[in-house]
Symmetry: C2
Subunit: 659 residues, 2 copies
């Protein structure tokens, strides 16, 4: 009677010809899944993971089902009963208690005793003679073999009653039905095991401040140090940033060193690009002496923590010609027919100051392990966030392996993919394990394109694996729309980034409205990638207090500390974008309106339409909103509200919503 | 350099910790697939199967890919190059030449020579020194090992040229690039193998005429025979039907035989229900003596074929208490505690005249094989279409096995699932292999619900595996809307069925507007399931010529001989439904308007909106339409046309569309 289905693994095996032991119960349309379970779904530890599935069988039986889940490295499943909602759709949820990799699965079986009980009650209700049915129920019960003690005791007790034929009540009790539920698991079927990554909350939401350590000196012309960075922490923390992200801090190659503005040859004293990693002083696990020592760096990490922030480091795999690995491990690099090293290139562009290792060379395992060990070295120094440079030019399998290896040591390590490339390649990297991803936001400025892009990345299944990090600028990118230097567009862009996406970032100088391009390009003139820069961080016109206010709004409103619970509102002006975001629990909802064009002021109607807010069991329409800056309150009329934006004052309105 | 990916099977394996040999090329979002390839996609043999997939890799390389396909029972793949459309999406198509099971798969690899060639041309174009690149290209070419002779010859030839450095043209020819394409299949990756069933065209489109052989006698009171059925063939063929479907023709049990109108006891002479199969005269492979002999039946099959029709038989697994199997194979049936047989039931309903075999009893393999052999017996008598009674009350794995077993013997055998049950169970049966399915159409009468239902079953992935067969009535179902007996509703219903669905059917009597119910039920009074019936097939008021005209329209318009290429039109009257159907080749398109309510006449605007017709390479808006009955032609104005339906005349308009 108790039949274990042999197909315990994937759902995709084709039954053999002549196979009469195929599975009777179908488990279909499991949610959430990425690529049928090939890649992990991403969540944050400590929060409920809702799982749905269609579970069905032929015939008119009562099915029972459980959601199974466990940390990947254990083999002890936890179990939660799945409940039938409607139309063969079952649901349950579990909470991954700690960051790490988990597996979940669905097990379903025919509940023979519940089926008998249901049919018996229907027949008795219809006035039929049920004497034989009663005997069948007792026989069924006597054959049950529950695994646990308490149910077994109750079942034995009921079985021993001599007068069940006259007094069938004990046989029909809810309590017995529950006890018998797992006693006879006919047709027991298990789905594939589906992977899930539970991350630290910082993987889903954080405000990033990127700065070049070399430019943090307090006096002009001096090379910045880690101590200079420590000196800036109170200011950055006061602005409400969560992550301090530093481009590479390693020794910089001298051979083919780049000069100012990416010149092919460096002048004496030029510091070179920090992305040309490795010199006589060391490679990826060393520190550029001008910045200080490893001890100094560790002090920076600790100081950051004391300010409630974390350090994020760059993981850029390329090596300068002077990197120690070239001599120690020549087999890790490709040589050309003339014996010269193969430089990085993207034809016709050549990067003469760096070489990429050969990931499929003769000692690929040695290379891969060395790269993993670089990350683990920095993890040991207290770094738990890595921004990965150009991951799309390194093999997919390498990333899937490396991220898993590192997270096996510390499940809280977060990886940000800096891949500006084709959309499906960016998504593939996210599927392979990157916790966050750079995005096209940096260039998306129109209402339609912003709405389309956000709808894509917050739709299913993208939202299950792709977490955006919206950077308004980077050391490499000064987008065209910022080149006018007008305060309103800087404010609008940082507000869009900070409110649309759980993760967002600025590169230092943005808060000072820096906007001088290399003519005709979207690149910074005199970029500090190739030279030192000195700034007055409090220079007039800076928008630091504006950014600080945005970050405070984020911290006070969980609705803004996530990305996917987003709905666009109808705004009757194509130059204003409006949206509502809501926390998972439903107890915080925020409405945002941002002007996308300079000419103003703009008056417009912000319509909430069908948008409901609140906890799942009591969703309601928005009834009023409160301006998070002015405290002004609006009662909605006809489902919306008339608003006004004066871009010169503030191109953005943010409201708390009330139902 | 040439690396075979080890993961040749399913896409769902999770890479092992420390695994450095994962696949570099991702093959994602393959289309068409049902449940990630667990169940076969259905097509008709001889028609192109378009396959799409996202194929991507890290880095900036040229990928090549092929679509592989083969009959399931061979191991020789045919190969078609996949072409890149845009955004990493590739496509190709193949034609399954004969009915049967097929597998398809996608193979992709890095085309190293094409990558070298592309980069070389870019660099030369940019005026760079490419001497080393040229040498690298020659070295690469020399290492290639193409499988086929002609490419190998060309490659050897080019390699032998002494002056390639000065005259590189031969190294850069298109011809060499093609020859080298499969010489170095780096990162060779194959998707899972996905199943496909190619059916005969009759699986996708056919007009079914269901009749009770017992009621076909030419004189009142006599039991109809196969010869009587043969006598009716000219008339049925003239009406344009494709399939003659007969409920069970086997000996009928005497024990617990049902009387007229499903009475619990039969009167002397009552014929009983043909679904109570099996008596002293034999079981599922015998013929009810009153109908004739097996030879007579074979004559009916042949006569049908001579009229261009096919016989469909019922496959109803239940057994009467007198079925020979109960004595020969008692282990195939469940007994109750008192030794009595377990009758079929759907509590509180009991079916005392039939018993279902126990599919998981001690000799389940014997039972399953016997049931398969019943089908194969009738296949040997020339029957290639089976309507399966209540498949949802038999195990899912049984059907997947049986259909495969039968189609292994004759791939042209078609199975229609008569499951009126929960939607996901109906879909599951279709996934398991049923060629066609009964549907909820029988009860769907409103415009919104018809549109919603058709959108569901013609959407993806439903359209890939679920082929509807729209029955307007059945021996069991006289739907409420037909009980008035008004001609307009009979016409509207048969026209909806015949034009919305590739497969549709009527049960005899419909053409005579039979509509007398058991009061308060959706069942026929004096149903011929329990008694003989005598009819004048030409009685006044019949709508035979109307049905014949519909069937002729179907045969003349391939747009109507399929279901999924359907778009609903905007009609500004909620009591008129309008739609456009189109053939796969795009050379036939039909527009239909059907009145859904009695009050009329109705005048309305039929708007074609964005609907385009024609072959894929030159789609155009509809410009004019021609009434298929009157020949009247309408030129579209403002994208639509004003139409009028007088339900008393004809509740339906059918037009040929022209671009």
């Amino acid at each position: 009677m108790v039949k274990h289905d042999r197909a315990m693994t994937a759902n995709v095996s084709i039954p053999l010809v002549g196979d009469v032991s195929g599975r009777r119960i179908h488990i279909e349309d499991v949610f959430p899944l990425v690529d049928a379970g090939r890649f992990p779904v991403k969540r944050v530890s400590g929060e409920p993971v809702e799982v749905w599935a269609d579970i069905l069988r032929d015939g008119h039986v009562v099915l029972a089902a459980e959601l199974l889940w466990r940390p990947e490295q254990t083999d002890q499943w936890s179990r939660v009963p799945l409940r039938l909602r409607e139309n063969d759709r079952f649901t349950a949820s579990f909470v991954a208690p700690r960051p790490g990799r988990y597996l979940y699965a669905i097990e379903a079986w025919t509940d023979l005793f519940a089926t008998w009980r249901r049919d018996f009650l229907v027949k008795r209700q219809a006035g039929m003679d049920v004497a034989l049915e009663l005997e069948e129920g007792r026989n069924l019960l006597a054959r049950l073999k529950p695994r646990d003690d308490a149910p077994a005791r109750l079942i034995r007790e009921v079985c021993r009653k001599p007068n069940l034929a006259e007094e069938p009540a004990p046989l029909l009790s809810e309590e017995l039905a529950t006890a018998a539920r797992k006693g006879a698991q006919a047709d027991l079927t298990r789905s594939a095991h589906y992977p899930l990554i539970a991350d630290r909350p910082i993987a889903r939401a954080g405000a990033w401040y990127e700065m070049m350590p070399r430019s943090q000196a307090a006096t002009r012309g001096r090379h910045g140090t880690f101590d200079d960075c420590i000196g800036r922490l109170p200011e950055i923390a006061a602005l409400g940033f969560d992550v301090l992200y530093l481009p590479p801090i390693h020794p910089i190659g001298r051979t083919n060193r780049k000069g100012r503005n990416n010149a092919l040859t460096a002048a004496p004293g030029d510091p070179g690009s920090p992305y040309a990693i490795g010199a006589a002083e060391g490679g990826h696990d060393a520190v550029l002496p001008e910045l200080g020592t490893l001890d100094d760096f560790r002090r920076l990490v600790r100081a950051c923590a004391e300010h409630g922030m974390e350090v994020a480091l760059d993981f850029a795999i390329q090596c300068s010609p002077d990197h120690p690995w070239l001599a120690q491990h020549p087999e890790w690099f490709k040589r050309r027919p003339d014996g010269s090293i193969q430089y990085a290139e993207n034809p016709p562009k050549k990067y003469e100051d760096i070489a990429n290792p050969d990931f499929y060379g003769n000692d690929r395992e040695g290379l891969w392990r060395a790269l993993r060990d670089v990350v683990l070295f920095w993890v040991r120094q207290g770094v738990r966030i890595f921004r990965v440079d150009n991951p799309h030019t390194k093999p997919f399998p390498f990333w899937e392996w490396l991220i898993r290896e590192v997270q096996r040591v510390d499940a809280g390590v977060v990886f940000l993919s800096e891949a500006f490339t084709r959309p499906k390649v960016m998504k593939a990297l996210a599927k392979l394990g990157f916790s966050q991803s750079y995005t096209y936001f940096t260039w998306r400025t129109g209402k339609q394109e912003l709405q389309a892009y956000l709808s894509e990345i917050t739709g299913y299944p993208e939202r299950e694996y792709f977490r955006p990090n919206f950077f308004v600028n980077t050391p490499d990118i000064l987008p065209l729309h910022l080149q006018t230097g007008e305060p309103w567009i800087f404010k609008a862009r940082v507000a869009l980034a900070a409110t649309l996406s759980g993760n967002y970032g600025i590169f230092n100088g943005f808060e000072l409205l820096e906007h001088e391009p290399i003519p005709g390009k979207e690149e910074y003139l005199d970029s500090e990638k190739y030279q030192l820069k000195f700034r007055d961080w409090d220079q007039p016109g800076n928008i630091k207090s504006y950014i600080g206010r945005l970050n405070r709004m984020r911290r006070n409103n969980p609705a803004l500390l996530q990305t996917s619970r987003l709905r666009f509102a109808q705004v009757d002006d194509d130059e204003v974008i409006g949206f509502v975001k809501e926390s998972a629990s439903g107890d915080n909802a925020v409405a945002v309106a941002v002007a996308l064009a300079k000419e103003g002021p703009l008056e417009f109607w912000f319509h909430f339409g069908e948008i409901e807010i609140g906890p799942p069991e009591s969703r309601q329409r928005v009834k009023s909103i409160e301006n998070l800056v002015t405290g002004e309150r609006h009662i909605l009329e006809w489902g919306g509200v008339r608003l006004r934006i004066d871009q010169q004052q503030d191109p953005v309105l943010v409201f708390r919503c009330f139902a």
